[in-house]
Amino acid sequence: MRYTLLYIYIIAASTLLLSGCKPKAEVPAQFAEADTEAAIYPDYKDIVVPPNIAPLNFLVKDSIATAFVARLHGSKSEIIAASSANDAIRMDSTQWRALLTENKGGDISVDIYAKRPDGWVHFKPHKISVAEEPIDAFLSYRLIEPGYELYRQLGIYQRNLTTFEEVPVYENNREYNDGENHCVNCHNYRMGSTESMVFHVRSNHGGTIIVQDGKAHKIQLKDSTIITSGVYPSWHPTENLLAFSTNKTGQAFHLYHPEKLEVMDEKSDLLLYDVTKNEVSHIIRTSDDLETFPCWSPDGRTLYYCSAKRNYLLDPTVPDTLITQQLLLKFDSLRYNLMSIPFDPKTRSFGQPRMEVNAAAESKSIAVPRVSPDGRYVLYTRGDYGQFHIWHKSSDLWVKDLQSGDCYPLTEANSPDVDSFHSWSSNSRWFVFSSRRMDGNYTRPFIAYFDKDGKAHKPFVIPQEDPEWNILLLKSYNVPELSRDAVRISEKDLRQCIYETEGENAVYKPNPTAIVVLDGMTGASPRKPADGTTGASPKKPE
């Protein structure tokens, strides 16, 4: 009994002590007006947020203040939160949800007060606009260190954007094991639904993992005609098909350059994989041109991709074994255009490729086309050269309006640093993209509102329970992919599939409508692209 009382005293005293550390969450009665806005981290000022986003906790940066109070108020309700000097302003999630719901389509005003040695000051308020449309609730990404060749612990994770919950979809070995070490990459879902999922495993236990109906199986996309295996994937929206690029990729590190590394393809083609039949075929196979980043339109009748002419950069007298070296010396001259190729889902036949955006003509290069789920816009990244824009500071987000044909930059969303890999929310009103704007090195996922007029609004980094985590985390968020629902397979089942199955070899079956343009030899198909309208090689096939 004596000890019980003692424990109660200790707990009570600890509670009092802890509560005493945190300032009282009430707006100060007296304060001076500051003529500036508060400096907050992350920058959540004047942004548009989805009504289902998790609380936007933030840090106030004021070196002399010892406490802060924030008041967020809309038309009906308010939240008052407080923090000490080194802690974040954290909102109660229930109150936050209510505030967003009540102010859907309206604005929330944010008033910040700082307790300085000479008393409280009130900064100029800023606002947060709440959109009507929600964002897809789940965001998947790979967490990896930026700029390296070796790999060890990495994984694909899934974050619930309406809360702070993050769960691993799949992680490789936490404790290093040379025999088990492998890389995972390029996860992708069909039209924002995790019903169909794909990602790759490289090195030990390698293969392409396809998850459907909550079951995983491993395949090997290998054939003498396929450059490597499947790389960048895109699920067909209606058929059980996957388009892949197949790339022979290398990377090199700069010695003295604002961009730290360059990733280049020496060769690349496009593949079509029939999941049901386990058959793979080429969509485009060219020996001279580089095709990559396939993306289906939402109706499944067009495949967008990027294509670059390579051979004009090469000295024909130099042996093929030195192609990579040659390309490396001209890394800033390789430019990709945005292309499309029609597809008939019934006959599985492809039409003639056509140029969508001739970026090379403007000395620019395009990568990662993604069509909005409503089919109206193609969102892509545009940089000065190359295709691995995630390391190009010139990389910005652009859209092509497929109705008007206009192309324009998403100025409000872009930054002077890298703005690259992106994913649409299924209602086409939001997209997530990777940006290095915070420190130039570590990518963080930013959310931007895309209004009905095709204009992007100021983006914001995904909220964290402790906003300082954006600084402390020594990994990049890679390949952010939105989905409406959570991944439907457990990590254990994925691990079992990866570790315990060898992978079924896909059967190569040539597609008679494929574009095959090979240098000095006949391909599987006699077809060639229409002159002047393709990104394929001008050389004639035999």
Partner: protein, 532 residues
């Protein structure tokens, strides 16, 4: 039955205890305190530098989010606690005190838990001595791949287990514990002496093994420590004192110190550069060339900031962040004017105990390019930064001198001299000659002069463009004449000729870096690498 058998042997023991004071003279010594002092000396003075570097190759913060990469691993908590304790090695005497206290307490508890009688009491010291032996055996491996949590983690777990065990014994049997500080009452002078003998002999064997089989471990760690403290004179003194002990981390530290003090073209070859293999293993368990110990720093001090960042990142991928990598990454970010990135690394370092001085010094440089350029170390590095970009795969070794042989333009005389010395080091005479033009009409530094004289054979007349070479010509002729008998089997004679021609470039040109290795202190064969 059991009571009887328990009591029977008590009688002679009691008699013995009673008799012991009569036998004991003034010669009896308090063994546990002596053991404590000896282990403290070992852990702080003798091996302190190794543990200090282990701390730099580790990271600990009270913020468990930062430590997630450790906590999620097997024995994560143990590693976390071990890393926390290792932090005390910021001050080796303090860290050594903790280690000695743990080993001594552990020894005492072993004796208590095992109910060792005086005759068997030397046994209680064996686990601690075994631990010291294992640490010595592993050498550089104790920190190389940042498995630093085990250094203190293992003795800590052992201590906890012994504490619990002893509490149980104390709770149930009330057995009295032997004296911790004083002399146990049941010891005879002989037993007392035997304990001391075991301890002294075992520790001598451990140190002997270290000096015989791992002599480079403490030297490398001291050099790294001096490198972090920018004690260039200290590095040169220590490296020259161990001039015949050849390994790449030492060569890198030595070269860095010479570059920083402008002596690289005068004294680079005063240490042997044949690179005996080290006992060091990577994460895969295979023998490693130890490049992780020097490549990030070699690139940084060689003016290749981005390559240094890259090397830091590669190591962070493999080992997780460490104090050393975060500090170097901070400096690289400052040199590159990546202010937000520097602030990021500093934010993490501010959460690491005892790193306030570093954070204060470099925190002031954020967004202050003038302060970055005014820093002595960084200003020297600026002089050797490349003028033009190229890719690392065009970047030729030696990594530790970091000069890209593809680049033929430099921004300073320092860059030119470094480049020339690297050409001589790699014995690439055509590239050496290509770079000589700016020195025409001058008296080059001694190593460059010797290089020119050697190049004269294939490029007659080149020496006429420089002053002062005539004085060195006789020395070269004498060297060639004297070493002629050894030229047929140079690797076999390289080691014996080194003391005579230490520092003389023609010796290095003909006899150095030939994969020759001294037979002796390392049981491993020479490294598989060639000239690099």
């Amino acid at each position: 039955m059991s009571k009887k058998s328990f009591k029977q042997p008590q009688k002679p023991a009691q008699q013995k205890v009673a008799a012991a004071p009569q036998k004991r003279g003034k010669r009896l010594l308090p063994v546990l305190p002596i053991f404590f002092l000896l282990t403290w000396l070992w852990a702080a003075w003798y091996y302190g530098s190794v543990f200090y570097i282990s701390r730099e190759y580790s990271l600990w913060s009270a913020d468990t989010r930062i430590m997630g990469f450790i906590l999620c691993q097997p024995y994560g908590i143990l590693r976390y606690i071990g890393r926390a304790m290792l932090l005390l090695y910021k001050y080796p005497w303090l860290g050594g005190l903790l280690m000695a206290a743990m080993l001594t307490a552990g020894s005492w508890l072993v004796g208590y838990c095992m109910r060792l009688k005086a005759t068997w009491r030397p046994v209680q010291y064996l686990p601690a001595l075994l631990y010291m032996a294992i640490v010595t055996w592993y050498g550089l491996d104790i920190f190389f791949e940042a498995r630093t949590g085990f250094i203190f983690g293992i003795p800590f777990v052992a201590l906890v287990v012994l504490c619990i065990w002893s509490i149980m014994i104390r709770s149930f049997s009330r057995k009295p514990a032997p004296a911790f500080i004083g002399i146990p009452k049941d010891e005879t002078p002989r037993q007392n002496g035997l304990q001391l003998l075991v301890i002294v002999v075992a520790m001598a064997a451990i140190i002997g093994f270290d000096l015989w089989q791992r002599p480079y471990v403490r030297v490398i760690c001291k050099l790294l420590d001096m490198e972090y403290r920018q004690d260039w004179a200290g590095i040169q003194k220590l490296a020259r004192a161990h001039a015949t002990m050849s390994n790449r981390p030492m060569a890198c530290s030595y070269a860095i110190s010479l570059v920083q003090t402008g002596q690289v073209s005068e004294r680079l070859f005063e240490i042997r550069m044949d690179y005996d293999s080290l006992y060091i293993h990577g994460m895969d368990g295979h023998h490693n060339n130890a490049s992780s110990l020097y490549v990030p720093e070699g690139n940084y001090f060689g003016g290749f900031i981005q390559s240094s960042q890259h090397a830091c990142m590669e190591q962070m991928v493999m080992t997780g962040p460490t104090i050393r990598l975060l500090k170097l990454s901070t400096k690289c970010a400052l040199m590159n004017q990546e202010w937000e990135l520097a602030e990021k690394y500093l934010t993490i370092l501010r959460k690491v105990p005892f790193e306030g001085a570093f954070c204060e010094k470099y925190g002031k440089m954020v967004r202050r390019l003038d302060l970055v350029n005014a820093d002595k170390e960084m200003a020297m590095i600026r002089l050797t930064e490349p003028l033009h970009d190229s890719f690392e795969n065009q970047y030729q070794q030696p990594l530790f001198m970091g000069y890209n042989l593809m680049l033929v333009e430099g921004r300073s005389q320092n860059a030119l001299l470094n480049s020339l010395v690297v050409c001589l080091y790699t014995k690439l005479m055509p590239q050496f000659i290509e770079r000589l033009e700016p020195l025409a009409g001058s008296t080059p530094p001694s190593i460059i002069m010797d290089g020119i004289l050697l190049a004269e054979n294939k490029h007659p007349g080149i020496a006429q463009n420089f002053n002062g070479l005539n004085f060195r010509q006789p020395q070269l002729q004498a060297f060639i004449q004297n070493t002629q008998p050894y030229m047929s089997d140079r690797p076999a004679h390289a080691y014996e000729l080194f003391p005579k021609y230490k520092g003389y470039y023609p010796y290095y040109y003909f006899f150095g870096n030939l994969k020759a290795t001294r037979k002796g202190y390392t049981s491993l064969s020479s490294s598989s690498s060639g000239v690099n």
